[in-house]
Amino acid sequence: MIKTVIESIRDTLRQEMARDERIFILGEDVGVLGGVFRVTEGLYETFGPDRLIDAPISELAIIGIAIGAAGVGLRPIAEIEFADFIHPAFDQIVNQAAKLRYRTNGDWDCPLVIRTPYGGGIHGALYHSQSIEATFAHFPGLKIVAPATPYDAKGLLRAALADPDPVLYLEHKKTYRSIKGEVPEEDYIVPIGKAEVKRQGADLSIFAYGMMLHESLAAAELLAQDGISAEVIDLRSLLPIDWETIFESVRKTNRVCIVHEDTYTMGLGAEIGARIAEEAFMDLDAPIVRVTGPDLPGVPFNEIGEQTFLPNAQKIADAARRLAQF
């Protein structure tokens, strides 16, 4: 069935909640309202207030309480209304959830899913546009996924809910309604830790995820018109990253273009670039290229500012063209 990303997430939540009574959703406006983006629309009517808990504005407590419940065997889904507001819960995520298993020598665990909409492009300005993946990718013990398609939205959500560790499930809010695709009715899982080659190519590799996957695919079309064959890889899983698939592509194309919406310095492209320079150095024929948001404190509200900030197909194609010609 063809669904949008938001429909795929919603339907998967519904199915999994029906199947597993240990799952509940805790977050601001998730119940009666059905979420500010309507991801949880209709679930309250089915599952009631015990399983869709409208939380006060207490991000720290939302995550901390979910950690406690996960520790004793429930399967909480903590929703942070916008990724930009996950920071008050930073301590709970990185000092508690990510470290619980390790610090107890494997005695306790934390099977927690944190869902949150991230990314720009909807006039959300500095505080409704942030990309948070790179910040959290620094913390062993956590896992991070960022589906770009309705298919992966389901498969990765099911994988996250089945995972014994805390998983940050990032929903690019621009994809919610703009990206449609086939979503099989049957059960399947997209394993955490596996990237996917979305488009085969010979001349260079573009590594992207989230909304930037779609911009990268559009860029590959533009490049094809110029006779440049770009391989496009959807990372999907950002912690851990599928290095195998990345290195395989580098061995083939010998040219690397990393794309993300997040700022340049210490964005996820830093780790990808460094790791390639460390482990696939001999396969490189050209400097690594990163196409990212600029090093600014945030995405401006004004549309010109916003478009100036965000990478897009054109900007990616321009950089990739220079890379191909190197």
Binding site: D29, V36, I57, P88, H123, L296, N302, F309
Partner: protein
């Protein structure tokens, strides 16, 4: 705006007319921005309708020439008292370059002005509350630490309040929803320990977006939390500008004299959806909203002014005309104002 009543002693009639005029202007600006948003101009509106009496009541109780504001996002009426103009507001709303709060970088309702001592707001609910405490700490610090050694060193950034022994006061507004955040707890506790010159004001409109008060707290009054920190908590009818004014004056005076914080809880109502992205029909009935209209300060205070013969059909029509002109001027100005440029987007990361 000229507000004769800001000068003490207060002429009650002038005060009431000032209040009404400002509330009316705030309401009409609100309506104009909502309409613009529905026409596809301005991506984001944050209505203030229902919060006007609180804003005007407290702002007039402060000293806009010296005191500091860390306002709640719905405090348009207070900002008008404070010196923010309708043009400023509309430029901010449309994200245009002359927006004094952010140059078009922030969404609407993220107030700020260094010149006017309005501490910049982010979108993070309650994130500004510790800043307000820091501003209040600075007021006390300057008096105790720097004032004690006048003449020494560089005092250029120092401030003087009108009375030499008095402290500048910081007003910190936030919503019922925001009161749940740890920021508020840590801030109030610290302000209490140091008896800082600050007034906390919770504008309780009963909702954090869709989440009703009973899902946000198990108590009726946020004000009851003040006792746990060691300062007074007061509940006031936030739909009555005079009641807010009086209550605020007491709290401000207390702060100014070094007696420490007060928590005022103003019971208000939000007549419109949370923002232009919200659909409030999903979580409250139209009857609820209509019922609350009985308390609408634009209605009740107008009636009072009529009774007190401070307003009549003629003067009201004139007022509406003046206000309407201000609103139209502001809209026209802002619509024609320049956008943030690509070049300017890169400015002011570091100083």
């Amino acid at each position: 705006m000229e507000l004769a009543s800001q000068l003490l002693p207060i002429d009650i009639e002038t005060l009431e007319l000032d209040m009404y005029r400002t509330m009316l202007l705030a309401r009409r600006l609100d309506e104009r921005m909502w309409a613009l948003n529905r026409q596809g101009k301005g991506h984001f509106a944050v209505p203030c309708a229902g919060h006007e009496a609180t804003g005007v009541g407290y702002a007039l109780a402060l000293d806009p020439a010296h005191d500091h504001l860390a306002p709640h996002h719905r405090d348009v009426s207070a900002l008008l008292v404070w010196g923010i103009t309708p043009r400023d507001i509309l430029c901010h709303f449309l994200g245009k370059a002359p927006d004094p709060a952010s140059g078009g970088r922030q969404m609407y309702a993220h107030w700020g002005s260094r010149r006017l001592r309005i501490f910049s707001l982010s979108s993070v609910m309650a994130g500004h509350v510790p800043h307000a405490v820091g501003v209040a700490l600075a007021a006390k610090y300057r008096r105790s630490s720097i004032a004690s050694s006048r003449g020494k060193g560089d005092n250029s950034s120092e401030e003087h309040s009108p009375r030499d022994d008095a402290l500048t006061v910081t007003w910190c507004g936030f919503g019922d929803g925001s009161s749940s955040k740890g920021d508020v707890h840590e801030s109030m506790n610290f302000a209490a320990i140091h008896k800082l010159p600050i007034v906390f004001c919770c504008e309780n409109n009963g909702y954090a977006i869709s989440v009703p008060q009973k899902m946000q707290m198990a108590v009726e009054n946020v004000a009851d939390r003040a006792a746990g920190y060691g300062f007074p908590g007061v509940v006031v009818d936030g739909m009555n500008p005079l009641a807010v004014y009086e209550c605020a004056r007491l709290a401000v005076e207390r702060a100014r004299c070094g007696e420490g914080p007060t928590l005022i809880e103003a019971k208000v109502y939000r007549y419109l959806p949370h923002t232009s992205n919200d659909d409030d029909t999903r979580y409250r009935t139209r009857q609820d909203v209509e019922h609350a209209r009985a308390r609408d300060p634009l209605k009740t205070f107008r009636a009072q002014l009529y009774t007190e013969q401070l307003l009549n059909a003629g003067s009201e029509a004139q007022l509406e005309r003046q206000v309407g002109e201000q609103v139209e001027d502001a809209a026209a100005y802002a619509l024609a104002a320049p956008e943030l440029s690509a070049e300017d987007t890169f400015k002011y990361v570091y100083g």
